[in-house]
């Protein structure tokens, strides 16, 4: 195993340490920013944690009604917890839903409580949030029980995508995928959900090129997979996307419905959805704290950079992003085994020695993050309508996965350039993976990059370029680097992009019971660690 010890790339530990400390330097200011701001979605997440769900007849969620109302009356900067639970204490509302309905009707006026009122509201809200976190903790225990009972599948875990747009079609397809050998099923979202500033409600039957992420859809799919897990005697994991404008809420719902992995990248929303950077980073930290608490493995999105930038030229931006995701993730309480850092097989296959370059990059990630469950993503950009050539390319992608000992393998489709996967595409893809994994099992031990050879030199070069870039980022600040198009060639200034208006700087009296509980939890988690 390459996991521990010297490593095949002869990376200099000092250099690696330097890369990490640069990432810390670059990330620190962002963390401060995140700690001193809140967003509408963070506040809505608090209410969801406290048990508020459902929507009005038009489908606008109650959490949106409440947060908008509070904001109108007292602004966002104090957080919604105190005004809301103060209102609960003042008025006679059976529960939060009643309050929400009345607020929606405009018949509630929120105040920022002071003194003893504030104290009372504070502890009431803390109780409510704690109840939500308990649910999350219990789900984590349940998952642990299942994985203990069934045992975990061998690595790499096979990751398959389902995307009919209709949750009731998704369920049988997901179960079929599991029977065909999927260890992880991801339900990709409808295009555009990431730009909605609310989370749709209930089961949904139509989306474009994906299915809406809703609490009910989460619940339905998780129970469908629990059934098939029992049938197969293998715990099948469920993945969705904590990204877009509702990242914190979706993370919370994932915790409440026992999802197992969430796509959750620190910059994807900024770069690929033009979401405001500050909004993203604030939402990011909260959602990662939730994921940490829920024992959810995050999947980062470095693969996406290589769909817009070149797989060779931009290789080091992947490394930089992985280091940043690692820093932000750990700062938010995620452990190594929750960091599903992403990378991809996206080099133009006509580049000479492209396969060795892929090996160099994949092995670099493997050795930089020996304990992270790396997510290895298949070729997409260079897939064409030549489905035969595409099938071959996916085989060589699988081979890199086997030779460099990746943990999560997203299965590539021969029809990537043609359509969203067909039943038969998926079946062929799984046969491809199975052949490669079985026939090359153990080959990693015979893969020993020549000392100072092509692969070793390339990996050192990429790490070097990553360090140079991190230094530049530290100098002119990460936000500016993003603004200048450092990642994926996208220019995203900090004062532009979607959702900026949903961001507020904490007032001196800001209070968020969820954050408080989460901070305490991780504080003494660290305590124990020491």
């Amino acid at each position: 195993m390459t996991r521990r010890g010297k490593g095949k790339l002869e990376l200099d530990p000092a250099v690696v340490r330097k890369a990490r400390s640069l990432a810390r330097k670059a990330g620190k200011p962002i963390v401060t920013l995140a700690k001193t701001h809140t967003t509408v979605s963070v506040e809505r997440a608090v209410l969801r944690l406290a048990g508020l769900s459902g929507a009005d007849p038009e489908g606008e969620p109650w959490v949106n009604h409440v947060v908008d109302a509070v904001r109108q009356d007292v602004g966002l900067e104090h957080g919604v917890a105190l005004p809301v639970w103060h209102a609960m204490a003042s008025g006679d509302y059976a529960d939060l839903t009643k309050l929400a309905q009345r607020a929606a009707a405009g018949s509630v006026i929120f105040h920022a409580p002071e003194g003893r009122d504030a104290t009372r509201a504070r502890s009431a809200s803390r109780k409510a949030a704690a109840a939500g976190l308990r649910k999350i903790d219990n789900n984590r225990k349940t998952r642990d029980r299942f994985t203990k009972k069934y045992g975990d599948p061998p690595k790499p875990w096979i990751y398959l995508i389902v995307a009919t747009g209709d949750i009731y079609e998704d369920m049988p397809q997901a179960q079929a995928a599991a029977r065909e050998g999927a260890d992880i099923v991801a339900v990709i979202r409808s295009t555009g959900q990431s730009l909605l500033d609310f989370v749709p409600e209930g089961p949904t039957r139509e989306g474009y090129a994906g299915t809406y992420a809703t609490q009910e859809n989460f619940r339905l799919m998780r129970s469908a997979l629990d059934d098939v897990s029992a049938e197969l005697g293998r715990y099948v994991r469920l993945t969705n996307y904590a990204s877009g404008l509702c990242m914190p809420e979706i993370a919370t719902l994932a915790g409440l419905e026992r999802l197992d992995m969430m796509l959750n990248d620190s910059m994807y929303g900024i770069l690929f959805r033009d979401i405001n950077p500050i909004r993203t980073f604030v939402d990011q930290r909260f959602s990662r704290q939730i994921h940490a608490r829920a024992g959810i493995i995050i999947n980062t999105g470095e693969d996406n950079y290589l769909t817009t930038a070149d797989g060779v030229e931009a290789a080091h931006t992947v490394t930089v992003s992985q280091l940043l995701n690692e820093f932000f993730g750990k700062e938010a309480g995620l452990t190594d085994d929750q960091l599903g850092l992403g990378h991809a097989f996206e080099i133009n296959p006509t580049v000479p020695e492209s396969f060795r370059l892929e090996l160099a990059h994949a092995l670099l990630a493997r050795e930089l993050f020996p304990n992270a469950p790396l997510k290895w993503m298949p070729p997409t950009k260079h897939m064409t309508g030549d489905v035969f050539g595409g099938y071959l390319l996916n085989g060589f992608f699988n081979l890199v996965g086997s030779m460099t000992d990746q943990d999560i393998l997203l299965v590539g489709m021969l029809t990537e350039a043609v359509h969203t996967p067909w039943l038969s595409d998926r079946d062929l893809a799984l046969q491809n993976v199975r052949y490669v994994m079985e026939s090359t099992r153990g080959l990693a031990e015979d893969f020993v990059p020549a000392h100072d050879g092509f692969i070793v030199q390339r990996s050192h070069q990429v790490l070097g370029e990553a360090i140079d870039l991190l230094e530049r980022i530290v100098d002119d600040q990460l936000l500016n680097a993003i603004a200048d198009g450092t990642f994926g060639l996208m220019k995203r200034p900090a004062d532009a992009g979607r959702g900026l208006d949903g961001v507020a700087k904490h007032s001196s009296s800001y209070y968020n019971p969820a954050s408080e509980l989460l901070d305490e939890y991780f504080a003494d988690a660290k305590g124990h660690a020491r």
Partner: protein, 271 residues
């Protein structure tokens, strides 16, 4: 050799002229058994494959079977009956485009581009617009007399129209890559209708759409002036712009395509 070029009736070629051999694969919603293979052959026969061989059959789950079939296809292809949409404009070098713009407009030609709807696939439109360009050709931003505004991804139709008006756009370039549930057709039809609504008749900017799955000949139905497909290069687009906007500097500029579409849309005849 030459016979290849002359004969106008052709057949698929396996390893001998006229053998008509083709390969087919598909899934049938049945478990794998003799009947299933018979069903596969029945379908092959209906497609014109006779004789045909089921060379591979793999059951997937309890209710589906994947088949690979080889056979001799009886259908003939008549090359004379093939209708191809030839490029209706000359390919110009960047300099020539700029010259044409200068000559006829005496001001920069204003182009805006975007991915509309929920589509976030910008690589295609960027390939056309960004300086970096595509397939070795620089993008429109590199053309001296073109003023390019790239609005990026997931732009709503109202925003697009507003920008077009504020920027006095001569041409609007729209990309659509996601085609599930015909998303690209819905979005484009909606977009062109919105422009005709917002602009006095005949003054709408030139509407150009592109994407890997469009049918080049569907411009009229979609109410746009031109459709570009897989493999388009920036030079082609620039040349089209020059052809379309700089040929007749004075004359009116209402694309016949819009007329047709107008009659279709609710707002037909609005003045």
């Amino acid at each position: 050799m030459s016979k290849h070029l002359e004969s106008h009736i052709i057949r698929p070629y396996g390893d001998a002229t006229g053998d008509g051999q083709v390969q087919v694969s598909f899934t049938l919603p049945v478990a794998h058994d003799k009947r299933a293979e018979g069903a596969a052959l029945q379908l092959a026969a209906k497609m014109g494959l006779e004789p045909a061989m089921v060379v591979h059959a793999k059951q997937m789950g309890p209710h589906f079977t994947f088949f690979v079939v080889y056979g001799r296809c009886s259908h003939l292809v008549d090359l004379d009956k093939v209708v191809v949409m030839e490029r209706e404009f000359p390919l110009l070098a960047p300099k020539e485009v700029s010259a044409a713009v200068k000559r006829s407009l005496r001001r920069p030609l204003v182009v805006i581009g975007a991915c509309i709807g929920t589509d976030a696939h910008t690589v295609g439109i960027d390939a056309i617009l960004n300086i970096k360009g595509w397939a070795g050709e620089k993008g429109l931003e590199a053309y001296s007399d073109l003023e390019v505004h790239n609005l990026g991804a997931q732009v709503s139709v109202p925003d697009l129209v507003e920008h077009a008006q504020n920027l006095k756009a001569d041409a609007v370039l729209v990309s659509q890559v996601v085609t599930q549930r015909e998303a690209h057709l819905h979005n484009v039809t909606q977009m062109s209708a919105a422009f005709r609504e917002a602009y006095p008749a005949g003054t709408t900017p030139v509407l150009i759409v592109g994407g890997p799955r469009f049918d080049e000949s569907a411009a009229a139905e979609l109410g746009v002036d031109r459709i570009f497909v897989k493999g388009t290069t920036p030079g082609e687009v620039a040349s089209y712009l020059a052809h379309r906007l700089c040929a007749t500097p004075a004359g009116p500029r209402r694309p016949s395509a819009n007329k047709k579409a107008k009659q279709k849309t609710k707002r037909a005849g609005v003045r």
